[in-house]
């Protein structure tokens, strides 16, 4: 069944999946921070937590979608920064910014299509294909744009609304993240295409032998993940008035992958869903927010973050030991 893991723990009566472990840790941290930190529980801070993870979360939804289909998309950050930078760059020629954003989306979709073709038809393993494509996409952008930081033209009303607007008190960045997550959740669970993605991820060879169109499915996944990455880039541009292409050099892509894996979407594909992504995203959000309030040093923040993430994975490994099926399907 989509959205759940493969092993059952019948003794407990319900399944203690990695998602449950992550949610439990999040709840624990939330309680501890609420009790010890002033203003942690305020409405403003809760919104700040959501706003601060909206970009990470949006990217993770796209990544999760690809991972469910037993792929991996390491091009997401490169596509995000280069796609948006391209839009800003062509808008400096005098093209209307909205049109420039549409051109950027077309470019990004084309990159996703190319990645998909490399993976599905040329059958290059996705980790290598996307690693190489990420590097070439970023490299090309770096040559064309000259500057790392590109500022969007001022006074674009809709972009300002994306950055500072809100709907019923919820910031637009969170609304967009929520909308992308909800659409993806429905798509995966309710549409035939979504079920085919699970089938392809669970056992690509069986799916193909049964006559499923695995290749078009894989190509579509990469196109959609590229467009989701572009959406995340637009959110960022709205929030901070520009895009910093150096993000490609940061650990962002690994954070995205971490959120996906931490939430319980196995790299072996065919399991998990949007709920897992949200669980992982919220844990990272609460943790980062609490540590920023506590003014922990950078080094100790990284240390604490990795220890908590590692323990989540360790607890899952103890509760859900690898069985014959998981061993055979294998991880990346």
């Amino acid at each position: 069944m989509p959205g759940s893991g493969k092993s059952d723990d019948r003794r407990l009566g319900f399944k203690v999946s990695q998602e449950v472990v992550v949610v439990a840790i999040s709840v624990m941290l939330f309680v501890v921070f609420s009790a010890t930190l002033n203003n942690f529980l305020s409405q403003g801070n809760i919104i700040a937590i959501l706003k601060n993870v909206s970009i990470l979360g949006t990217l993770a939804v796209g990544m999760g979608f690809v991972v469910v289909g037993r792929g991996i998309d390491l091009t997401m950050v490169a596509v995000m920064v280069v796609g948006v930078a391209f839009s800003i760059w062509i808008s400096t020629w005098g093209i209307d910014f909205t049109l420039a954003v549409i051109c950027g989306a077309v470019l990004v979709a084309a990159i996703g299509l190319f990645t998909g073709v490399m993976v599905a038809i040329a059958e290059v393993p996705p980790i290598f294909a996307t690693l190489a494509i990420a590097s070439s996409v970023y490299g090309s952008g770096r040559i064309v744009f000259a500057s790392d930081v590109l500022y969007a033209p001022p006074n674009i009303a809709w972009l300002k609304f994306v950055g500072n607007g809100s709907v019923f008190g919820i910031p637009m960045s969170v609304v967009i993240f929520g909308a992308v997550a909800a659409l993806m959740g429905l798509f995966l669970r309710k549409t035939r295409f979504g079920r085919l993605v699970y089938a392809t991820g669970d056992n690509p060879n069986a799916a193909r032998t049964t006559g499923l169109p695995t290749r078009p499915i894989i190509v579509t996944q990469y196109v959609i993940s590229a467009l989701i990455a572009f959406t995340a880039g637009i959110i960022m541009t709205g929030l901070v008035t520009g895009i910093d292409t150096r993000l490609y050099n940061s650990s962002l892509i690994y954070d995205v992958l971490l959120v996906v894996v931490l939430g319980g979407i196995g790299l072996s594909g065919g399991q998990g869903g949007v709920r897992n992504v949200i669980a992982g995203t919220i844990l990272v959000g609460i943790l980062t927010n609490g540590m920023t309030i506590l003014n922990f040093s950078y080094t100790s923040q990284n240390l604490i973050k990795s220890v908590i993430l590692l323990s989540a994975l360790a607890i899952d490994a103890i509760i859900n030991p690898r069985d014959e099926q998981t061993s055979q399907s294998g991880d990346i």
């Binding site: 930190l37 002033n38 203003n39 305020s42 403003g44 801070n45 700040a48 706003k51 601060n52 970009i55 770096r142 000259a146 500057s147 790392d148 930081v149 500022y151 001022p154 950055g163 500072n164 910031p171 960022m236 929030l239 901070v240 008035t241 520009g242 910093d244 292409t245 150096r246 993000l247 050099n249 940061s250 980062t288 927010n289 920023t292 309030i293 003014n295 040093s297 950078y298």
Partner: protein
């Protein structure tokens, strides 16, 4: 007799004029010291290892140096590691192996290149460090007095956030990369001001990694915790626009003063005009580049001097830029420098 005298005078005058003309023409062809200067620069090899050429300050420097190189016929090669420290180490090792006449280096932090710079000096290669120093001192450093920068920025916040009219005494330091020279030395300057103004309260000290979105996230969280925040100081205008965005989103642009420093690019001035930043301490990268160009000439002119035998330091000028003077030379564009 009278005529003879006149002729003699005329002749002497003519001779004198001719002589003077000769001297004058000799001076025109041989300005003192010019020929050896041109000779000493021609055909020399200079390698620049930056942190990343994508930054506005780097673009300004290289434009100035390329002009300098074209004018005097030496070669300038830029080996851009694009923010990757390992690639930077390889670029430095490669540069040392090629034995150029001069290596210019912008250090990502104080330690990474420290030994390599010693090796370069031992191999007889002169080293000019720009803006970001290493723990190893070499022939020359051109760039900011970062301690002064820390003092200026926190001093600016002290003006707004002390006294009876201050909204609070709470200030934030949005650091860059904690091992970077700018970061380490600015902190010394900051601590001096904090010591002199004990009522100032440093409520957050987090690195934003020179990334605007990170600066925005930290600021947003801190503002929730300290709604009466008075001031924020940062390390690069292109990153602190994120802090500004968080302050504007909270509707607190009149309450929170945002101070940072920058290369003086027009984008910084735009950020001041858009109300994202209040004050930029502008170290004017093109002027920094000119000072460094002068140092390139100096170091190439004296091949007889042993590398590392004389160590000099040049701090560039710093201009305080706010709404009133965010114009003209305080806001350069790349096309102005070309």
């Amino acid at each position: 007799m009278k005529i003879f005298k006149k002729c003699l005078f005329a002749g002497l005058a003519a001779l004198a004029l001719m002589g003077a003309a000769q001297v004058a023409s000799a001076q025109e062809t041989d300005q003192v010291g010019r020929a050896p200067y041109l000779e000493s620069l021609k055909g020399k090899k200079v390698i620049f290892v930056p942190i990343s050429q994508g930054m506005d300050l780097n673009q300004a420097w290289v434009m100035v140096w390329q002009r300098h190189a074209a004018r005097y016929g030496f070669s300038l090669e830029v080996r851009d590691p694009n923010g990757d420290t390992n690639a930077g180490i390889r670029a430095m090792q490669g540069a040392i192996a090629e034995k150029p006449d001069l290596i210019i280096v912008q250090n990502p932090d104080v330690q990474t290149y420290a030994r390599l710079l010693k090796q370069a000096q031992a191999a007889g290669i002169k080293v000019l460090q720009v803006n970001m120093q290493s723990a190893t001192q070499t022939d020359s450093y051109v760039g900011n007095d970062w301690i002064e920068m820390g003092r200026l920025e926190m001093g600016e916040l002290a003006k707004h956030c002390t006294g009876p009219n201050a909204v609070s005494h709470k200030v934030v330091w949005l650091a860059g990369v904690q091992t970077g020279a700018a970061n380490i030395y600015m902190r010394t300057g900051i601590d001096e001001v904090l010591k002199a103004n004990p009522e100032l309260q440093l409520v957050s000290d987090q690195p934003a990694d020179y990334i605007s979105e990170k600066a925005r996230q930290i600021t947003e969280t801190v503002l929730q915790q300290h709604p009466d925040l008075c001031g924020i100081m940062g390390i690069w205008d292109n990153a602190e626009v994120g802090a500004g965005a968080a302050v504007v989103a909270a509707g607190k642009q009149d309450q929170v003063t945002i101070v940072t420093n920058g290369a003086g690019a027009a984008t910084g001035c735009e950020s001041i005009k858009n109300g994202l930043l209040d004050v930029i301490f502008n170290f004017n990268a093109p002027i920094q580049g000119e000072i460094a160009a002068q140092q390139i000439s100096e170091l190439l002119q004296h091949p007889d001097r042993k590398a590392g035998s004389e160590k000099t330091i040049f701090f560039g000028p710093i201009t305080r830029v706010d709404k009133t003077n965010a114009t003209g030379r305080n806001c350069w564009k790349p096309e102005d420098i070309k």
